[in-house]
Symmetry: C2
Subunit: 328 residues, 2 copies
Amino acid sequence: MTPDPITKGVLAGDPRAIARAISLVEDEQPAGVDVLRAVYPHTGRAYVVGITGPPGAGKSTLVDRLATEVRRDGKKVGVIAVDPTSPFTGGALLGDRVRMGGHSADAGVFIRSMATRGHLGGLARATGDVALILDAAGYEVIIIETIGVGQDEVDIVRTADISIVMLVPGTGDEVQALKAGIMEIADIFVVNKADREGADRLVESVTANLTLQTFAPGEWRPPVLKTVATGGEGVAELWARIGAFRAHSDDVGRVPLGNGARTRRERRQRERHEYRLRDLLSHRFLRHVEQSLGPGELERLVEQVASRQTDPYSAVTALLQRVMNTQA
Amino acid sequence: MTPDPITKGVLAGDPRAIARAISLVEDEQPAGVDVLRAVYPHTGRAYVVGITGPPGAGKSTLVDRLATEVRRDGKKVGVIAVDPTSPFTGGALLGDRVRMGGHSADAGVFIRSMATRGHLGGLARATGDVALILDAAGYEVIIIETIGVGQDEVDIVRTADISIVMLVPGTGDEVQALKAGIMEIADIFVVNKADREGADRLVESVTANLTLQTFAPGEWRPPVLKTVATGGEGVAELWARIGAFRAHSDDVGRVPLGNGARTRRERRQRERHEYRLRDLLSHRFLRHVEQSLGPGELERLVEQVASRQTDPYSAVTALLQRVMNTQA
């Protein structure tokens, strides 16, 4: 397939073309960028749901149930399961087939797992690009699930249209999450495995923490929901609350939002675009540096640093000054 | 403290100065770079041991026991415990005090835990900088422990002087690790919790996998060791094998090594330097872009991308071309 039929296929929602486009993007093929450029004007319609939580919180089960709710609403749903702890925690490599489960016969559901390794271009960038492809292909809701590890993964969730933080009773994770500031990104809290001992205590402690925060009039106050994802309990309620948050953030705010956005959702989208621009910029610059260096030049620099003739900080300053005077 | 006394303190091995220098580096203070530049000529003496393994493999216990072995050899040891899955798996935030355990009264041991969040400059860069400070402070062995997650973490371990991959029986992790290519980075395999059922089977399967590989004459063949870190079993053997690998890689190779290195260890060190130069370069470039953009300029670009007047790929190309013509 040449890029053009792939682009057409993506825009027509053809799963084979979508899978092919995703592979091109993941492998950093120039044809992948061509597809992204071509489909980009057709993006911006999908609602992006970010879900994060500790390993073992039941993320994939919850996302599976949530996808069912989205389908009941008559909407197409794309799922991007990001597992940066692969290979060690296993998730992503188990493959999409397992994940598809009951959705495998449903063309309205597209599930893609992504592991860190093998992503030449960085996981966050790949995730963003895959979301654009699914968006262009007409998936109206895109769920991105990830464990809340590195800054990149947190940013993926934080800049989604809505950020959901999952917790489970009895792990003590909420204390750690509180300390590390991950609670601050939540638009909705979900206490999963809510039939376990300690669930109510966990709900109370998260709620108590929220009462310590001040909310401006009209500001969204994150609800704390209970789910038992394996049995589907609480999932319809979660989907309803996602809808409520969406309506809230599509509202034209009365307070100035600061970056030219008219609504809270627009502000979030702008953050997402800015994050991606920075990421892409740094990636492209490194590629440019590699191309503009003479043969053996980087090697000589490494040799000088290794032999302590210079230090890495001075070496990079000199290199930066030189490269900046060449044409991009 | 001004940078100069800090540098002096670091070179004298003063723990307070070391801790202060690390904080400056972690917070990306300009004084931190001053310290790094000043101590850099005094680095390159430490032997860097990278250890990776799945959550629950008993890494911190093994590292603790290994530190005891290093001390028995009369060498000072620095430990950098990297936990990029914090906050959710907890490790790093539990703090260094817990980790210090039996070493707390021993000035020959320095332990520093690092979590992702709060590292403005990226975890890999921070880890490398902390290692340089410990190296300059006279720690002869530096152990960097991390779970094998993102590419950055794998690179930290891969470019250490020796890379140790830990596995535990009964988790199925070895299959995942095999698939994802993490086994390829091991100079030594450690099957920890070797008193558990399935340990021998795991050793056999890793050994069988190694027999499928071809090793050149004189090439190091990764041993598969069994340990029970909680009881200290197998740890002296591990330390002995680390010594054997060190001797092997300090040997002047008979095969050309490709990047100007005379020994395998030098080759590894060059890879580490190259990795760090790239990372530092990209970080500095982004800072330069931010400084060279006019007020509101990035915001306008984001707005154009958000409104689909342009796509991110074209926007970045244009931005890159413009920034490259300004002085670094």
